[in-house]
């Protein structure tokens, strides 16, 4: 699986742009080499640069998701008694073509592409969707008069109508340098540019994908590019920003930090940059660290500033943070640099003063922002490598050997000529000049005889040089030494060549196969071996290392765990050294190793297997862990009380472990205790609590009560020790170990914790249905917002920061230790989440501010940002983020009216968690929703259909997902007219989706051969409801609306997969998951237990039968605090249900569709289903 990688950008002194990947080893030339560049500034998704023509260019990476923009205009008509609705409008009316408000005249042909980098996707078409409801043909909406509210129904008094036309344009200049064409007034145009810096994409709460682009012109003026964002990668215009002096260079960090340098040597710092004002408000001046030498170059990160003064000294600014962007003082760092660049994660690179090599600052961590040492990046360039590479491939063709051998007999005569050419070679080591020579050699070798070529494969065990030596000896009929002597004398005129020869004796030379490779590639004479090895050395030495002019790390993510391959030269030398170090021959290894294993297995047989019938003498020991915890006491008033806790583990005679947890407490001066058998515990879950590290233990009984045993530890570490031990004991007593099965049910709590449960066959069918409060849940490491899976073990998750993760097949992670966690497949995972707090104010007097602690005040969460005002609160906000209402608590709105006496605003804070778990990131597209086909034909090689919604609302289809490669290969974008929020694919490739306006869509003709289908069919929503989620099982389609109502799609038949009507099933639902057996599981909003009420509870629909797909009633499971569940892996009851099904479904079919056609289709569906089910059955027996 590919690790996420990012790029370091650099420009060499010839203006060529190179990139170096964090997982790569070579500098790769930028794909578009048309232009030479002076400077570049990169972020993850794009790079901006100033070319040698002083023009600005942007390089946007190609991706799976297109950059598209929707243009819209409205066509307006008025009813006229003679001709009906017509284009003739009243003089007071709006134009026939206008924008939505009617104020702006917008004809279809007035829309032009903003630059040559765009193209139209299609022609204009009418949008037939109004507010989530399909309109009549033509897309008209009607009203009494302009401007008004429009309805889709035409009434007697509808005098005007309008319809919306839309057209998409697509940005096409990706993976090329696109010139920023300025449509500005030429008078206003900036003079040629000198420096550029991009950043600002993390300014808190700004729209996703916005970018700040700053440039400095030759006259020292600063320009800001307006409106650069994801769907407008070029921006619109340049705005002049006044500065206190002439600026030479500028640097913009990912957040709100922006520094620039002045001609006079001071730095200026931009203040007041925020969401409303990405350009900032004012400048502050920071003096240079030394009075004689002004600042020449500055670079900023999240909260760090580095600078280089005119004497090339490097400085680090102390005390920079979001409250004090100017910092406090300079610290001088070791090293002299031309420039420095601060990248993601505050990592730093520089270009060395003397050697113009790029150095990476090692050891930059959050606690040590200035790092430890500079380390040179010695990566070669792709172009260098390809030369070596080509010679190797030529060699493998065998042509040079034959050539060599033929010449060998004439070596004495040819020697002089060859050596002289070699001498030239060595002085110009690997250089384009040598290429023609190689070509010549290759062409001459083309004449060689076939018989000799054939000898090479005959000696595969010998290394190339070795075999060559041997044959050379035969051919020339002299011994090797003599041969060498001859060459030595012939090489005499060149002192360096002689030196080499005295150093390399033949034995050692044999151990340098790669060196010899390059030798043969360039010459046909043996005598060149020594000479060229000098050249090979130099190739990676100082002469050939690239000289750099500029470097940008703004898109390069390096963290502590990234293994970088930048610091070792990948020359032939190193690999030959490696081959030298293999000192033990395989034969020797085999002998002693084999003997040890053989003896050990004999010993096992002798000492154990012969005594199998002996009774185990395991002591039936009691093993106890005790400690002090706090317990949320049972009786009123409920409060935390100190208790002693003891866990006793027994090992039974059958080797089974069983455990009891005792909680000793005082009740009216009397010592009492409660105890729990751990084999009855169904889940142990961490609970959010203001000040305590607390967790809850549930048993089926306590689940019914909604009253778990709650315990708290004083430190997080102590709690995790207990959690780990208790979890392990629970798993042991239930004999559960290893990774979850493919059928596992996954769920996620509101804390982002992940739980998994092995479904029992009695869960879905059988005479004695298992109630879902009996289910045992164990925790899996990681932090996710949702998980989706299928019955073939493909599991994906989405984090709170929308990062996509794929399950690796491991288990444990998080706090789990030792046996409870797999050794492989556990990786570091991070997630970013916002926590909110409300600031409430009464209009007069001010009531003051909330000062309550954060719900996540725990040390696993570290602050990423400071508190900032959140403008996305539902109900809308004003410019300062306030919402208004008549009184608390009430519904809020975003503008002040006369009746409003209170206001509130929501403050948000970004928190970052770093944990680990069996998850690997799937970069780069961030996701909102995901769905995996529940089960399909059991062929392991077959691709698994996986659909997703990006966090921007794009519908995506993942290609190349198989059981072996669950991450898949790439995304296929599926066009939509609006952003989507939910998607689901059923067992027979029925794809349903929900758009952001709450309407449902069915995707037609999706099949394994046509993974993206052909078109969307708009399905009307239930009356007056906006939908928010859809889930499709085998044949059932359920949707959930924003009011928490669950609906079943009635009338779906194979010939009419869209169905006919929505049937209500239940209210009080937050989220749902329909499984491959059409089983219905939900997260219920509120569930009342015998002791308490729980919010966010797992519930299971009982009585779901083929004839009764909506089921009968709810069975309540674990909760509250649950956010998400997926049962789409659970096909365990497939076989039994299928037997019932076939008979009953036949009934259903004959009732549903009388015609032959639909019957035929059903038959068609059923056949593959039965096949897959019998396979499922087999898999079960293997698993059990």
């Amino acid at each position: 699986m590919a690790m996420p990688s990012s790029l370091l950008w650099a420009v060499d002194i010839f203006g060529r742009v190179y990139t170096l990947s964090t997982v790569g080893q070579y500098w790769e030339l930028c794909k578009d080499t048309q232009l030479e560049f002076k400077r570049v500034s990169a972020v993850k998704q794009c790079c901006w640069g100033i070319a040698c023509d002083h023009q600005v260019y942007t390089y946007v990476f190609s991706g799976d998701v297109p950059i598209r923009y929707q243009e819209e205009t409205y066509e307006n008509q008025r009813w006229n008694p003679v001709g009906g609705f017509c284009e003739k409008l009243l003089p007071s009316d709006r134009w026939q073509w206008s924008d939505v408000s009617g104020l702006k005249h917008q004809q279809l042909d007035s829309f032009t592409l903003p630059s040559p980098h765009w193209e139209w996707e299609s022609d204009w078409y009418v949008d037939e969707n109004i507010g989530g409801e399909p309109t009549e043909k033509g897309g008209w909406t009607y009203a009494i008069d302009f401007p008004s509210t429009y309805t889709k129904d035409k009434r007697w008094n509808s005098c005007v109508r309008r319809r919306r036309w839309i057209r998409y344009r697509r940005y096409k200049s990706r993976d090329v340098w696109a010139k920023i064409v300025s449509s500005d007034d030429p008078e206003q145009l900036p003079d040629p540019f000198n420096d550029i810096s991009i950043g600002g994409w993390e300014i808190t709460d700004e729209p996703l994908g916005r970018l700040s682009v700053w440039a400095v012109s030759l006259q020292g003026r600063v320009w800001y590019r307006e409106n650069v964002c994801h769907h407008n990668p070029e921006g619109s215009t340049w705005s002049l920003i006044t500065t206190p002096g002439e600026v030479v260079q500028i640097s913009c960090g990912p957040y709100d930090l922006l520094w620039a340098t002045l001609w006079e040597g001071q730095a200026i710092v931009r203040e007041g940059i925020d969401r409303n004002n990405p350009q900032g408000i004012s400048w502050s001046i920071v003096e240079s660290p030394s009075s004689e030498n002004g600042i020449m170059h500055v670079s900023v990160g999240v909260d760090v500033v580095w600078c280089v003064t005119k004497d090339r000294k490097v400085w680090f600014r102390r005390g920079v943070n979001s409250h004090n962007p100017c910092g406090t003082s300079w610290i001088e760092m070791v090293g002299e640099m031309m420039m420095v660049t601060v990248g993601l994660n505050n990592q730093v690179w520089g270009i060395g003063c003397d050697d113009r090599a790029i150095y990476f600052r090692q050891g930059v961590t959050p606690s040590e922002l200035s790092g430890k040492t500079w380390k040179a990046i010695v990566s070669g360039r792709e172009s260098d490598r390809s030369q070596t590479g080509s010679s190797t491939s030529l060699l493998s063709a065998g042509c040079f050997f034959t050539d060599d051998i033929q010449n060998q007999t004439n070596a004495i005569i040819q020697g002089d000529a060859d050596t002289s050419s070699d001498t030239e070679l060595s002085s110009v080591p690997v250089n384009p000049a040598s290429t023609p020579l190689m070509g010549a050699a290759a062409s001459s070798s083309g004449n060689s005889t076939d018989s000799q070529t054939a000898e090479i494969p005959a000696n595969p065990s010998l290394d190339p040089l070795d075999s060559d030596q041997g044959e050379a000896t035969v051919a020339s009929a002299t011994n090797e030494k003599a041969n060498l002597e001859v060459h030595k004398s012939s090489a005499n005129p060149n002192p360096s060549a002689e030196l080499q020869w005295t150093n390399i004796d033949l034995k050692e030379a044999q151990k340098h196969p790669v060196l010899s490779v390059s030798t043969f590639a360039d010459t046909s004479s043996l005598s060149s071996l020594g000479v060229f090895s000098v050249g090979a050395d130099d190739q990676y030495g100082t002469d050939e290392h690239p000289l750099w002019a500029w470097v940008s790390g703004g898109g390069c993510l390096v963290d502590l765990h990234s293994p970088l391959k930048w610091f070792t030269a990948s020359s032939g030398l190193s690999s030959s050294v490696q081959s030298l170090s293999l000192s033990i021959t395989p034969a020797q290894t085999a002998a002693w190793r084999k003997q040890i294993f053989q003896q050990l297995s004999e010993r096992t047989k002798r000492e154990l297997e012969n005594f199998r019938h002996y009774e185990q003498a395991i002591e039936q020991s009691v093993w106890v862990k005790t400690g002090a915890l706090q317990w949320w006491r049972n009786w009123k008033p409920h409060k935390w009380m100190d208790v002693r806790v003891a866990l006793e583990q027994f090992t039974g005679s059958d080797g089974m472990r069983d455990s009891i947890l005792f909680i000793y407490y005082m009740y009216h001066e009397e010592k009492k205790y409660i105890h729990v058998f751990l084999n009855e515990v169904t889940i142990i879950v961490e609970v959010l609590n203001e000040a305590k590290h607390s967790f809850a233990l549930y048993t089926p009984e306590r689940t019914k009560q909604r009253w778990p045993i709650r315990l708290a530890a004083t430190t997080e570490q102590e709690m995790h020790d207990w959690l780990s031990l208790l979890n392990m004991s629970c798993c042991e007593s239930r004999r559960i170990q290893g990774p979850p099965s493919h059928h596992a049910i996954w769920s996620v709590t509101c804390k982002g914790d992940i739980f998994v449960s092995e479904p029992s066959p009695e869960l879905e069918a059988g005479p004695q249905l298992m109630s879902c409060d009996q289910m045992f849940w164990r925790q899996v490491g990681g932090h996710l917002r949702l998980i989706e899976c299928n019955s073939r073990g493909v599991v994906w998750g989405i984090g709170y920061d929308h990062t996509a993760w794929v399950y690796t097949g491991g288990y444990g992670g998080g706090f789990n230790q030792g046996l409870a966690s797999s050794a492989d497949n556990i990786y570091t995972q991070s997630d970013v989440k916002c926590v909110y707090i409300y600031e409430n104010q009464r209009w007069n007097p001010v009531t003051g501010y909330s000062s309550r602690g954060l719900p996540t005040d725990r040390y696993m969460w570290s602050d990423v940002s400071d508190w900032y005002i959140d403008f996305n609160t539902s109900g809308g906000t004003d410019r300062e983020g306030w919402q208004y209402a008549a009184d608390f608590p009430a519904s809020y709105h975003g503008h002040k009216t006369m009746k409003d006496f209170v206001r509130r605003r929501r403050w948000a804070r970004k928190c970052k968690i770093v944990t680990n778990g069996p998850w690997l990131e799937v970069p780069p597209v961030t996701l909102w929703d995901i769905s995996i086909i529940p089960s399909s034909a059991a062929d392991d090689e077959e691709t698994v259909a996986l659909w997703a919604i990006s966090d921007k609302g794009d519908v995506l289809c993942r290609l190349g997902v198989t059981q072996q490669n669950p991450a898949g290969t790439s995304w296929l974008h599926v066009g939509t007219d609006q952003p989507f929020i939910s998607i689901s694919i059923g067992a027979f490739y029925q794809v349903w989706a929900i758009a952001r306006d709450g309407s449902a869509f069915y995707r037609g003709s999706v099949s394994p051969n046509k993974p993206a289908g052909d078109c969307w069919y708009h399905i009307p929503s239930p009356q007056k409801q906006k939908l928010k989620q859809v889930s499709v099982g085998r044949t059932s389609v359920f949707v959930l609306d924003t009011n928490g109502n669950l609906w079943y799609r009635q009338g779906i038949t194979p010939s009419y997969p869209q169905g006919s009507t929505w049937d209500p099933v239940s209210n009080n639902i937050r989220k749902m998951s329909i499984g491959p057996l059409d089983q219905v599981w939900v997260i219920a909003d509120k569930v009342q237990g015998s002791h308490s009420l729980s919010c966010g509870t797992v519930c299971h629909r009982t009585g779901v039968q083929p004839m009764e797909p909506k089921g009968l009633s709810w069975d309540y499971g674990i909760g509250g605090g649950w956010e998400h569940i997926t049962v789409r892996g659970n096909a365990t009851e497939a076989s039994r249900v299928a037997v019932q099904d076939t008979s009953e479904e036949n009934l259903a079919v004959s009732k549903d569709g009388e015609d032959e056609e639909s019957k035929g289709k059903t038959e068609h569906f059923k056949t593959p289903l039965m096949v897959s089910e019998s396979q499922e059955l087999d898999r079960n027996s293997v698993n059990c």
């Binding site: 040890i596 002996y614 046996l819």
Partner: protein
């Protein structure tokens, strides 16, 4: 104070199985053996052995960098017979810097069934000055020449580790990494070869 496996190698290697053990519940031989009065004493003894072994292998650097809970996990893993738990920590004790090719010294003890001497323990490096790996044979030649068979002579002794006889060509570094006891020592028994 010998590990039970070592006692078996030394005294019962060639006896018929099962091994009959006499357990004494009184008259502790206070003069001959150190009396461990509690579990804590055994734990302390075990940890002392691990520390001694690491002093030889890494100048104590690895064990000293570990936290108290890691030490505890080693002991708990052994006590509860949980290999994974034990090895998760012990793995670190078996590592060495790649440039070194091996430990500084090999922690080993050689026991001879025939002598009264408790055991032989000396400083022995896994890599010869020339860079080649020392073998089990090299070790015995160096510290216990009596165990090595004379060129022409008949083999009178057996060299046992964990109930098997590894070849004398086996690199000692490999044995130390893979055949050490939980106390991180390589316990090698030299016993007379049965005559039959």
């Amino acid at each position: 104070h010998y590990p039970i496996g070592l006692l078996f190698d030394l005294h019962a290697s060639n006896t018929a199985l099962p091994w009959s053990i006499t357990v004494h519940f009184k008259n502790f031989p206070e003069k001959d053996l150190l009396h461990c009065h509690s579990k804590d004493v055994i734990e302390a003894h075990f940890m002392a052995c691990i520390k001694e072994a690491d002093a030889l292998k890494h100048k104590s650097q690895v064990i000293n960098e570990m936290q108290k809970k890691d030490h505890k996990q080693l002991w708990m893993g052994l006590q509860n017979d949980k290999f994974e738990q034990f090895w998760a920590i012990n793995r670190k004790l078996m590592e060495y810097p790649p440039e070194d090719n091996g430990f500084r010294y090999i922690p080993f003890r050689i026991y001879q069934a025939t002598t009264e001497r408790p055991f032989i323990q000396k400083l022995f490096r896994p890599i010869a000055s020339g860079g080649e790996l020392h073998t089990l044979g090299d070790l015995l030649k160096d510290v216990c020449p009596g165990a090595i068979v004379p060129e022409d002579g008949e083999q009178k002794t057996q060299v046992m580790i964990h109930g098997i006889e590894p070849m004398l060509e086996t690199p000692i570094q490999w044995l130390s990494e893979h055949m050490s006891y939980p106390d991180n020592f390589l316990h090698i028994s030299i016993i007379p070869r049965p005559t039959d």
